[in-house]
């Protein structure tokens, strides 16, 4: 099965499962706002002291857009990514995802959004250490109720698409950092998400591997019309994106 066919097949299977908020049938960028964040504030209580991770952030991210987020450590980048990924809710303000108010959604609804429409890639890859590469990729399909044979086939195709078709039986510890990140990307893409959120995806990789990974992300996102949001300290990576956001002290900078 070619990669194109695989993705098409995956799209068709996944389309029925997704909430009818939007449809990703055409891999194209749109100016329609996929994310609309309005005056988002997130406050943490650290040892009795209030910490404003996000402080009145307002931003819109369009469908199919490739966005980089940069800024100093503690500026609110990861917190913003968690809001976009339905991992957390703002203390105040609105987070609209394709018309769905994430701030007002239940835990169950947020879990459903994450399961069906959002893919994650992390700096530390976050693979399950006891599962093989193939099984790690399959784990993203478990919440979708995909049957075993289809799950295996889709995971195998996803691994092939990131160049690891022959590494499916390897445990994460048996793979290099770049290979582990490829497995993590395969896991994020196997469910054909609308959004791929990457938190320092190349932070642990050398330059050559960094370029490979970021090119893989960009190519796949453009090919499939996936909205890609990358948090990075690496200007080289950021410059490859369509739009650059800089966050400091919980707000967008110029």
């Amino acid at each position: 099965m070619s990669n194109d066919n695989m993705w098409k097949s995956a799209d068709d299977a996944d389309a029925a499962e997704k909430t009818p908020v939007t449809s990703m049938t055409q891999p194209a960028r749109s100016d329609e706002g996929l994310y609309v964040l309005t005056d988002v504030r997130k406050t943490y209580d650290q040892s009795g002291k209030k910490v404003h991770a996000l402080d009145g952030l307002t931003v819109t991210i369009n469908k199919g857009e490739l966005v980089s987020i940069q800024g100093p450590t503690g500026g609110g980048k990861s917190t913003l990514l968690q809001m976009l990924g339905a991992l957390d809710r703002p203390s105040t303000g609105g987070v609209s995802f394709d018309g769905l108010d994430l701030a007002a959604s239940s835990d169950s609804k947020l879990t459903e959004v994450r399961a069906k429409r959002v893919g994650f890639a992390f700096q530390s890859y976050n693979l399950i250490p006891t599962l093989t590469a193939q099984e790690n990729v399959e784990s993203a399909l478990a919440p979708l109720g995909v049957g075993r044979s289809e799950r295996r086939e889709r995971a195998r195709a996803a691994l092939e698409s990131v160049g690891l078709g022959d590494r499916g039986a390897h445990l994460p510890a048996e793979l290099s950092g770049g290979q582990q990140q490829r497995v993590a990307i395969a896991r994020a893409l196997v469910k054909n998400p609308d959004v791929l959120l990457a938190d320092e995806p190349t932070g642990n990789l050398d330059e050559a591997m960094r370029d490979e990974i970021i090119d893989l992300l960009i190519t796949t996102a453009r090919l499939r019309g996936i909205t890609l949001v990358v948090v990075t300290h690496d200007t080289t990576v950021a410059q490859k994106m369509d739009r650059h956001l800089v966050i400091a002290k919980g707000r967008l900078s110029a």
């Binding site: 994450r114 992390f122 006891t130 099984e135 399959e138 979708l144 799950r151 938190d199």
Partner: protein
């Protein structure tokens, strides 16, 4: 995915799996061993009690005789014309078949009352008797008094004279032993049998040297033999005294044996007395054909009597027509035993109503000590070890969840619901517990095998049991203290029997299928508890916090 993930976790986190499973295995093995030994103790108690009771019997009803109703001490009285005379000896032979002392009887109406009590399924009855034979040689009786000396009428006749029920009459004498003429009247001359001594007393001043008797010098020799006889309902073997026996040779008493002089012997008694099936045994001087021998089902206990005969025959020969000494009750179900016992105590306030539990509390000795030990130390030790094993499993599981914060955070990030994560964690713990349970059962069997190879012998004493139906083997001795035997040993045995019997019981731990199921169930439950706690902890992790903790 569930199975794959579970298998991978268990295989790739072997250390935790081994520790949790080992802890659980140890606990389960201990619980199983204690339970098996406890069952063994219970079985031993049942063995001891079953021989008293009959294995199928739930309740016995007996009645202790009221004071003053035994007609005084039992006697063997010999008249002047009893026995066989030869060579200056008088040979006497007398037998009594009577109820054991201290026992009272129930009539048919009482048995009917018991039978009609709600919850009573089966009733068996028995009449416990003692067959005692007094046999010995005495000097030939004679009367002192010169010309008035005379032989006892009929003394020259050979053969037995009566059964010893005659009252004392004029003192006898023997020809050739008469003393000098005297003015003393025969009535003034006394001769009395007291204990083992035959004492001659006369008002004459000069007595001739004694002759005759067992030693030719006026001595006497006695032999007192006794064995227990139990009249039982022929053909009833599922309750009552024969329910705890099995036929060793010949056959058991059958319904058609009613009214017949047939007997079944305790096999040990038959061996001791050199009696076989087909031979005869004298009971109350009547010949009974031996149709079979029985032995206790238990290696550690004996049958309830030496000789079993049809109830109606026993009643007739002993003069106890229509009455019984023991009633054995089998309840319709085990749940009914207590209520039946209560009802019988109410309807028969004079009777002693004993259940198996009542008797079990009367068993003492090291068997009882072992039982108490298991009830207290063993039970609590098992509970403590089990709780510790559960805690270890729970703590290890929760610790594992803490170590896997990133893992569970990641799974939540990719859309795993809390329920799926709880199931995953609980599944791992349950499998660990089940592995521990399986190993524990194996260890338990090994420990039980070691225990049984040692096979410790415990002593059980039934002292304090006041059951008339308690004639064990070696049931010898006279029914009365003044029968003139002078056999202190037998009297001592009597006292010993009255005070209770001691048994040596080889304790064997016993396993049951339900015990194994409970052991595995406990292991699974331990896994469930650990898994639920661990799973809930994992479920409470908020994905954002989980991701932050590893960022």
């Amino acid at each position: 995915m569930f199975g794959t993930y579970l298998r991978r976790e268990l295989l790739n986190r072997k250390k935790q799996t081994v520790i949790v499973a080992a802890g659980m295995a140890f606990a389960i093995a201990l619980v199983m061993t204690v339970s098996a030994v406890s069952t063994g103790v219970q079985n031993s108690q049942n063995e001891v009690l079953g021989s008293l009771y009959g294995i199928g019997t739930d309740i016995t009803v007996t009645q202790t005789a009221e004071p003053g109703t035994n007609d005084g001490p039992r006697r063997f009285d010999f008249g002047s014309d009893v026995g066989t005379t030869a060579d200056g000896k008088r040979v006497v032979d007398s037998t009594r078949l009577e109820r054991t002392r201290g026992s009272a009887t129930f009539d048919a109406a009482t048995v009917s009352t018991i039978s009609s009590t709600q919850g009573v399924g089966k009733v068996a009855t028995s009449l416990l008797l003692s067959n005692t034979t007094f046999k010995g040689e005495l000097p030939e009786f004679r009367v002192f008094g010169g010309e008035n000396d005379r032989n006892v009428p009929g003394q020259d006749q050979q053969g037995q004279q009566g059964d010893g029920s005659q009252q004392s009459g004029p003192l006898p004498t023997t020809p050739g032993n008469s003393v000098a003429p005297s003015s003393t009247t025969p009535a003034a001359v006394q001769s009395t049998v007291v204990g083992a001594a035959f004492v001659q007393a006369a008002t004459t001043t000069t007595l001739p040297a004694p002759t005759g008797g067992s030693d030719g010098k006026g001595g006497a020799a006695f032999q007192v033999t006794s064995f227990s006889v139990m009249g039982v309902d022929p053909g009833v073997t599922d309750a009552g005294p024969l329910s705890s026996t099995e036929v060793a040779a010949g056959r058991a008493l059958a319904t058609g044996d009613k009214g017949k002089y047939v007997a079944v012997l305790d096999s040990t008694f038959a061996t001791t007395e050199t009696l076989e099936v087909g031979a005869t045994i004298l009971v109350a001087k009547k010949k009974f054909e031996i149709v079979g021998t029985v032995q206790s089902n238990s290696a550690t206990s004996e049958t309830a009597a030496n000789v079993f005969v049809p109830l109606d025959v026993a009643q007739s020969l002993s003069g106890n027509e229509g009455v019984v000494t023991n009633v054995y009750v089998k309840a319709t179900s085990g749940d009914m035993v207590d209520s039946v016992a209560t009802a019988l105590r109410t309807s028969l306030p004079e009777a002693t109503v004993s259940t198996t539990a009542d008797l079990a509390s009367s068993v003492s000795g090291s068997l009882s000590t072992a039982s108490d030990l298991l009830d207290t130390l063993g039970k609590w030790l098992s509970i403590i070890v089990l709780v510790v094993a559960f805690l270890v499993a729970t703590l290890f599981t929760m610790s594992g969840v803490s170590r896997r914060t990133r893992e569970f955070g990641t799974l939540k990030a990719i859309g795993w619901r809390n329920g799926r994560i709880v199931r995953q964690v609980a599944g791992e713990s349950i499998v660990q517990g089940t592995i521990g349970g399986a190993v524990g059962v194996g260890l338990g069997f090994a420990a039980i095998a070691v225990f049984n190879s040692v096979a410790p012998a415990l002593e059980a004493s039934t002292a304090g049991l006041s059951m008339p139906s308690f004639p064990r083997g070696g049931n010898f001795g006279p029914p009365g203290g003044d029968g003139g035997t002078g056999n202190g040993g037998n009297a001592a045995r009597m006292l010993g029997r009255a005070a209770g019997n001691s048994y040596e019981v080889v304790l064997r731990a016993a396993t049951t299928p339900s015990m194994i199921l409970v052991a595995v169930g406990l292991a699974v439950m331990g896994g469930v508890i650990a898994g639920v706690f661990g799973g809930l902890r994992a479920a409470r992790l908020r994905p954002a916090e989980a991701m932050r903790s590893v960022a």
